[in-house]
């Protein structure tokens, strides 16, 4: 039976009815049409569906939608401010951290989550932080470079 669910997504309050077996990913993509968050494996392995929940990264396919009650969720759609990309997005563009693009929203959310916890990561910190994001195109080198450059850029951007 559907239950009422209140939560905040990208700063906007939502109040809706959700089925008990919906994942947060089902809710975002199939019902709210926030399709920036990607469905990869749907079993918590690939990281394509990574979002921030309460400021921490979470695979949205592994969260029951009703467990997100009263929580704050940020998806990749919530990062840019108007036409200005988030410094992590900007760095992925500048340093070529994108090829096919399917893993990109998840990688970007993992990077944003890392920089919230640790604004000055080492390369090893970056590699550990994206261990849960699979990318079959880039070989990760440019992704890692982009995240390190974003970390450098962020204090200057006042973020």
């Amino acid at each position: 039976m559907k239950q009422s669910l209140r939560l905040t997504i990208n700063g906007e309050p939502y109040e809706l009815l959700a089925e008990p077996y919906w994942s947060l990913l089902d809710l975002l993509r199939d019902h709210l049409h926030l399709t920036g968050t990607k469905r990869g494996c749907d079993e918590g392995d690939c990281g394509a569906c990574t979002v921030l929940m309460q400021g921490k990264t979470a695979t949205s396919c592994m969260v029951l939608a009703l467990d997100a009650r009263d929580k704050e969720v940020i998806t990749v759609e919530g990062l840019a401010q108007g036409n200005k990309l988030h410094p992590v997005q900007e760095a992925f563009v500048t340093y070529g951290g994108v090829q096919c693009g399917y893993c990109t929203p998840g990688l970007i959310m993992s990077a944003v989550g890392l920089l919230l916890e640790n604004p000055n990561p080492t390369e090893e910190d970056v590699r550990f932080s994206i261990g849960g994001n699979l990318c079959r195109c880039t070989g990760y080198a440019k992704v890692v470079q982009a995240i390190l450059k974003a970390a450098e850029a962020m204090p200057a951007a006042g973020a």
């Binding site: 008990p20 079993e43 921490k56 592994m62 090893e124 932080s129 261990g131």
Partner: protein, 306 residues
Amino acid sequence: MNRFEYLEARTLPEAITVLGQDEGTRIVAGATDFLVRWRQGLWKPRSVLSIQRIPGLDRVDYSPATGLSLGSLVTIRTLELHPLIQQYYPALSQAATTFAGVQIRNLATVGGNICNASPSGDTLPALIACGAECRLIGPEGERLVPLESFFLGPGRSALRPAEILIELHLPPPPPHTGALYIKHSPRSAMDISTVGVASVVTLEGGDGVCQEVRITLGAVAPTVMRASSAEALLRGQRLEAGLIQQAARAATEDARPIDDIRGTARHRRAIVEALTGRTLRSAIQMAQGASFPFQTQRALAVEAML
């Protein structure tokens, strides 16, 4: 995939009552194991009971006199990053760092990792090596069960119907104790261990004989297990290189591995020997006072083929 109802408990008595009303109700906490098995069609509950909003189950308390109390909802990420856990129970933080990826560690709970009772559960060897005890609460009241005797087989535990794991207790580590967990898996993240080994060593006076040692092996038997004959060789002895080698070989005889997709039994025994020796040698150095920054411990704990 069956459809299920979503129930929620706000107190423990409420949770126990709800669980007792229908055996088709399954507890969920982080839900990271649940959703995988449900989508695979392996678990078909009529209802899930979320215990996430029961207050107090996510507490971490440490005191030098009584040790560590971990609520069952403490996340794997907290085990990884909590400064007191890193300091006093380093094997537990090391094990947490080898667990899936950050975005799963932020959701998955220590109680869930235990109650799923997988022989390859990443936190289990470290918890058993640290002497963890489980506090269970159910319709007949509370009881304490050593984690070592909690597991009955793959996916099977000592939990009785409508019983809930609410807390873990780990005794304080004696002075001059060192510990290392190493996970060997095909990939360094998001993979299930082929073998995991935790060693916790306490030396008399920091440079003396071995006062106590616990060696636990993951993914080489139907449950996580102690390498008892390896431990017996070391207790009360000076831990010299030859003896460590002997103990590592003994651990391969303690293990009861099988052939599966992640490795053959023979390969697993060889890994047990290598990891037992390696975890013991580092644990001894730490017990002697060598200080390893967490970044170093992390690099030691994650061992992958790729």
